[in-house]
C-alpha cells in the first residue's frame, strides 16, 4: 500500500493530527515558542478556549474529559507555562483521566543551556504522567501524537505529555498519519481470566454478607449499567467512592453511599461486617480504608481492576481479576448466582434507618446550613453536572446530592486540588452545553482560580459557581477544632472580597443569599439567567462535615460531629 503523504510544517501537522483524533476543543495559553502553532490554530476548525492561567487549561481539559469520556487536550508555552500545568497533570494522573498535554519548548539547539523560558518539563512530569515525549524530529510527530492519544485513553487512562521544541513546529515534513500504534511494551489486558471470574462467581453465590465497593474505574470503563445489573442480580449492596459517585444511582435501594472518612455509617459498617467484598475499579485509598489492618478483616476480597499494579498494593486480595470492569462485570453477571443476603439486607436497612446522614437544621435562626444548599440544588436540577472544589463543601456535595447517572460528579479525588472545580466546570459545560453545570465551591478554593471569570464571560460558558462562603478554610478549621484545641491558625479568610461585586466586575451575574429562604430562589435565578453566575451563599461558618472517621481509626469507629443548636 502506498502511503498518502503531503508536505507541511510541524505546526500544521499538529493540527492535522488533532483533526484525526477528533479533537474539537483545546484549552490553552500562548507564548513565544508556540507562535507557529497558534498561527495555525487561528483558522483551524478547533475551538480554542483561552484561559487566564495555564492551571485552568489543564483542569478545563480534565473537566471536559470527565464529562464526556473523551480525551481532554490542552497546551501551554515553555518554561512557566509548562510548569503552571504541573498541578493539573498530577491531578489527572491521580484520578486516571485521559488527557494529552502539549507544551512548547525552546528550540532543540538551545536545549540544556538554561535558555530563556526553558524548563525540563519531561523530567518534571515523569512521575505524574502515564508517559511523556520530547519530540526531536517533526517527522516523528504524527506517530507520537497517535501513540499519546492511544496511551492516554486505553488501559488505565492517564495524562500523556508531548514537549514540542519550536524548531520542530517549523520543520517541513511529509505528513502521514499512521492508523496503528506499535508499542511492544504496552499491551493492557481487557479480558479477565475466565477461571478467576468463575471462582469469583462461586464465592458470590455462597456469600451471606456481600458488599460491592465501586470506584472511578466503573465510570471510566462505562460499566455503570453492568454494575447496577450485577448488584440487583446477586442482591448485594453497593458503596461508591468519591470518584465512583454517579456510577450507581443514589436513590437505588441497594445504595450505601460513600465509604470511608466522611462516608455514611452504614457503608462503613457494611464493609466491616462483610464476608465478601467485591472491589471494582477502586484502589483501596487510605481515605476509604482507614486503619488498613482493620479494614474488612473478615471478608474475602475480589478485586477487579485494569491495572495489575493495584492488585494487593494496599490490601491483600483473594481473587484478583485484571481487566476491563465492564467486560468482567458482564461475565460475572452471566455466571454469578444470587448471594444469600436476605438477612444481611435487613440488617443494612436497619442501619440505614438508625444511622442516616443528617444535619441539625437551625432551630430559630434563618441561617443557611450548607447541606441544605446541596439538597436544594439536587431538587431543583436533578440532572445537573456537579463539579467541586476541595474542602467541606466537596464532602457535602458527595453526601447530599442525589446522583443518578455517571459523569455527573466531577471532583478532585486523589490529589485534592483546591482551585480545580471552577476551571473543570468550564470544561464540563463546554462538553455538555445541554446540562446545567454547578461548581460547588469554597470561598478559599474559588479564590485559587477566580480569574477564570474572564474566560467564562468572554467565551460565554454559563456555569454557576455556588460559593459556600463560611469565611474559613473550613476543612482545615474542622481539624483544628477537633485536634488542635480550636486554635484556628491561618484558616480564617473572612471578608476576603465581595464575591458579588467580583462577578459583576468581570461581567458575570452575582447573587447573594444570606437566609435559608433565599437559597432556592437564588438557584432558580441562576439557572434561568443562562449566564455565567456566582452565587455567594453565606453559610453557617463553623458547620462540620459529619460523620467522620478520625485519622488512623478503623472505619467503623465513625463519629457524629454535628453541632447542636
Amino acid at each position: 500500500m502506498t502511503k498518502a503523504t503531503e508536505k507541511m510544517t510541524g505546526a500544521r501537522a499538529f493540527i492535522e493530527c488533532l483533526y484525526r483524533e477528533g479533537v474539537d476543543t483545546i484549552f490553552g495559553y500562548p507564548g513565544g515558542v508556540l507562535l507557529p502553532i497558534y498561527d495555525e490554530l487561528y483558522d483551524a476548525d478547533i475551538r480554542h478556549i483561552l484561559v487566564r492561567h495555564e492551571q485552568a487549561a489543564v483542569h478545563g481539559a480534565e473537566g471536559y474529559a470527565r464529562a464526556t469520556g473523551k480525551t481532554g487536550v490542552c497546551i501551554a508555552t515553555s518554561g512557566p507555562g509548562a510548569t503552571n500545568l504541573v498541578t493539573g497533570i498530577a491531578n489527572a494522573y491521580m484520578d486516571s483521566i485521559p488527557m494529552v498535554v502539549f507544551t512548547g519548548q525552546v528550540p532543540s539547539s538551545l536545549l540544556g543551556n538554561d535558555a530563556f523560558q526553558e524548563a525540563n518539563i519531561t523530567g518534571i512530569t515523569m512521575p505524574i504522567t502515564k508517559h511523556n515525549y520530547l519530540v526531536q524530529d517533526a517527522n516523528e510527530l504524527p506517530r507520537i501524537i497517535k501513540e499519546a492519544f492511544h496511551i492516554a485513553s486505553t488501559g488505565r487512562p492517564g495524562p500523556v505529555l508531548i514537549d514540542l521544541p519550536k524548531d520542530v513546529t517549523v520543520q517541513e515534513i511529509d505528513f502521514y498519519y499512521p492508523d496503528k500504534v506499535n508499542l511492544r511494551g504496552y499491551n493492557p489486558t481487557y479480558h479477565g481470566n475466565m477461571q478467576q471470574i468463575k471462582k469469583a462467581a462461586a464465592l458470590i453465590g455462597k456469600a451471606k454478607n456481600p458488599v460491592i465497593y465501586a470506584g472511578g474505574g466503573v465510570i471510566s470503563s462505562d460499566a455503570s449499567k453492568e454494575l447496577i445489573e450485577l448488584a440487583e442480580k446477586v442482591k448485594a449492596p453497593v458503596t461508591t467512592t468519591l470518584t465512583g459517585m454517579g456510577g450507581f444511582p443514589v436513590e437505588h435501594e441497594l445504595f450505601l453511599g460513600m465509604p470511608g472518612m466522611h462516608g455514611t455509617k452504614y457503608a462503613n459498617y457494611a464493609i466491616q461486617e462483610s464476608d465478601l467484598l467485591i472491589a471494582v475499579g477502586a484502589r483501596f485509598d487510605d481515605r476509604v480504608t482507614g486503619k488498613l489492618k482493620a479494614f474488612a478483616s473478615d471478608a474475602e476480597i475480589i478485586h477487579i481492576d485494569i491495572d495489575p499494579a493495584e492488585i494487593s498494593k494496599n490490601v491483600k486480595v483473594d481473587i484478583p481479576i485484571v481487566g476491563d470492569a465492564k467486560w468482567i462485570l458482564q461475565k460475572l453477571l452471566k455466571y454469578a448466582d444470587p448471594s444469600q443476603s436476605e438477612k444481611w439486607l435487613d440488617r443494612i436497612a436497619h442501619w440505614k434507618k438508625t444511622n442516616p446522614l443528617h444535619y441539625v437544621p437551625p432551630g430559630t435562626g434563618d441561617g443557611i446550613k450548607p447541606q441544605y444548599i446541596i439538597e436544594q440544588i439536587s431538587e431543583a436540577c436533578k440532572d445537573a453536572i456537579i463539579v467541586t472544589e476541595v474542602g467541606q463543601h466537596q464532602m457535602w456535595a458527595a453526601q447530599y446530592f442525589k446522583f443518578s447517572e455517571p459523569r455527573t460528579f466531577i471532583t478532585s479525588g486523589g490529589l485534592g486540588t483546591m482551585g480545580y472545580g471552577f476551571p473543570a466546570s468550564i470544561g464540563a459545560k463546554i462538553a455538555r452545553p445541554d446540562r446545567v453545570v454547578f461548581d460547588i465551591a469554597g470561598d478559599g478554593s474559588f479564590q485559587m482560580n477566580s480569574q477564570e471569570l474572564a474566560t467564562v464571560v468572554k467565551e460565554d460558558v454559563p456555569v454557576i459557581v455556588a460559593i459556600f462562603n463560611n469565611g474559613y478554610l473550613g476543612m482545615v478549621r474542622q481539624w483544628q477544632e477537633l485536634f488542635h484545641n480550636r486554635r484556628y491558625s491561618a484558616t480564617c479568610i473572612q471578608d476576603s472580597v465581595d464575591f458579588v461585586k467580583l462577578a459583576e466586575a468581570y461581567g458575570a451575574l452575582g447573587i447573594r443569599a444570606t437566609k435559608r429562604d433565599e437559597v432556592r430562589p437564588a438557584i432558580e435565578q441562576a439557572i434561568a439567567s443562562g449566564r455565567p453566575t456566582v452565587i455567594d451563599f453565606v453559610v453557617e461558618c463553623e458547620e462540620n462535615v459529619s460523620p467522620m472517621v478520625p485519622a488512623g481509626a478503623a472505619i467503623n469507629e465513625i463519629l457524629d460531629l454535628e453541632r447542636k443548636e
Binding site: 511494551g185 499494579a309 494487593s312
Partner: protein, 161 residues
C-alpha cells in the same frame, strides 16, 4: 531477600531515568543496576539487583511493567541463571610483595592488567562472593581504589521467554 531482575527496555533516551525514578519514588532499594544494548540495537537490557520480600518484588515487577518503555521483566533465580560481576582493584604493591599478590590473583583466576612501581591493577570476574573474597585477601596490602560493575545475569539454557 535479594532478587535479580532482567529488564528488557526500549533503547531510547530517558529510559534509565524513568526506571531509576520509579524506584526512588516508590521507595524501593536498588543494590546495583547495569545497562547495555542487546543483540537487537533497539533494545537495552538492564540487570537490577533489588532488595525486598516477595511482595516488594511483585510490586516492583508490576510497576516496571507499567512503564511504556519496559518491554519485559524476568525474575532471574540464581539456581537457573548465570551471574557475573567484574571488578578492577588497584592495590599497593612493590617488589617485596608483588609475587605474593600475583599468587592471590592466580588463585582467583584474576588478571594483572597494570603494574606500576607502587601499585598494580587486578581485574577479576566472578559472582559476588568471589569478588568479596579477593577483596578481603587484598585488603591487608592496602586497596587504593576499586570499582565494581554491578551484576549482569542471564538465564541458563534457552532464551528467557
Amino acid at each position: 531477600m535479594r532478587h535479580t531482575l532482567a529488564v528488557l527496555v526500549e533503547n531510547k533516551y530517558g529510559v534509565l531515568t524513568r526506571v531509576a525514578g520509579m524506584f526512588s519514588r516508590r521507595g524501593y532499594n536498588i543494590d546495583s543496576l547495569t545497562v547495555g544494548v542487546t543483540d537487537d540495537p533497539t533494545m537495552s537490557r538492564m540487570t537490577i539487583v533489588v532488595r525486598g520480600d516477595d511482595e516488594v518484588l511483585e510490586q516492583v515487577t508490576k510497576q516496571l511493567n507499567k512503564l511504556i518503555d519496559v518491554i519485559r521483566v524476568t525474575d532471574l533465580k540464581s539456581e537457573d541463571s548465570v551471574e557475573r560481576e567484574l571488578a578492577l582493584i588497584k592495590v599497593n604493591s612493590d617488589v617485596t610483595n608483588r609475587s605474593e599478590i600475583m599468587q592471590i590473583a592466580d588463585i582467583f583466576r584474576a588478571r594483572i592488567i597494570d603494574v606500576a612501581s607502587k601499585s598494580m591493577v587486578i581485574e577479576v570476574t566472578g559472582d559476588e562472593g568471589k569478588i568479596n573474597a579477593i577483596e578481603q585477601l587484598l585488603r591487608p596490602f592496602g586497596i587504593k581504589e576499586m570499582v565494581r560493575t554491578g551484576k549482569v545475569a542471564l538465564k541458563r539454557g534457552q532464551k528467557s521467554s
